[in-house]
Subunit: 167 residues, 2 copies
Amino acid sequence: MKKIKVSEAFKKFMPERAVFVLSIDKRGISNGMVASWNMKCSEEPPLLAVSLWKQCNTQRLIRESKEFVISVPNKSLEKQVRFFGSCHGDKVDKFKETKIRTLPSRHIRTPMLKDATINFECRLEKTVDAGECYIFIGKILASYMNKKKKILLYTKDNKGKRAFQEF
Amino acid sequence: MKKIKVSEAFKKFMPERAVFVLSIDKRGISNGMVASWNMKCSEEPPLLAVSLWKQCNTQRLIRESKEFVISVPNKSLEKQVRFFGSCHGDKVDKFKETKIRTLPSRHIRTPMLKDATINFECRLEKTVDAGECYIFIGKILASYMNKKKKILLYTKDNKGKRAFQEF
């Protein structure tokens, strides 16, 4: 049991479920990112938590709109996962750029992803300051599933190149 | 994309990294449980979050002691994972019962697990009320790794029987 840097331990403490975190701005334009720091945190009431870097655009949209969608991808969305994970939504309309297919949500303005395996519509319940990130805790208003589809896992960082695998 | 109950969506939104969450009581007796709702939430400062049911014994110990260890298991600890996940620490000394091997931590009183793949020594930084659970955010004081060992994933609930798989 060797003492190591936290950054090394974090690299080993894998895999993670890389999910799309989608939100919407005041003008009604959706944007989003990919985040692999997420967890269930209550079943009754149903809550999900996701930790987002304080510098990212999506955290601002969520704090303004008080809503977000967690969209769980499969292999068919790997290209979009890489794109949403690699660029800034204030510079590019990632939805347009990737031609990702959306569906309207029932309770919120943020759309969900048609080809995802699971979509969770969330209302922002609580924002927690956590170091360089904000943890957003969302109350799940509705959930949707493509039962036959699998889950894409973020398995490791290969010198800056992210590896994914379906589970 | 079919609308489904959140409990169904949670079953599909897998796998999870089932980790030991260890703590210590006022008398210096360690106890712990297994929790699969956990995530990294900041790298600088290094923070980990874990969501624990409000009724469990470990949440009380963490709130009292302000410290905990997150110990990431591998296949060799599967039996202990099942035991720590299935019984109450106020009735049984799970460490004694399972003969699980411990090591002293450097910065806190709670021990870590000798045969784990990763151990994180954490100081309680923040407690967040989240529905039926408390989210404990711990500052990582030190991390340790057995580099050759793998990570045990909780893959699914088979009608009450939990399935695990090494990754």
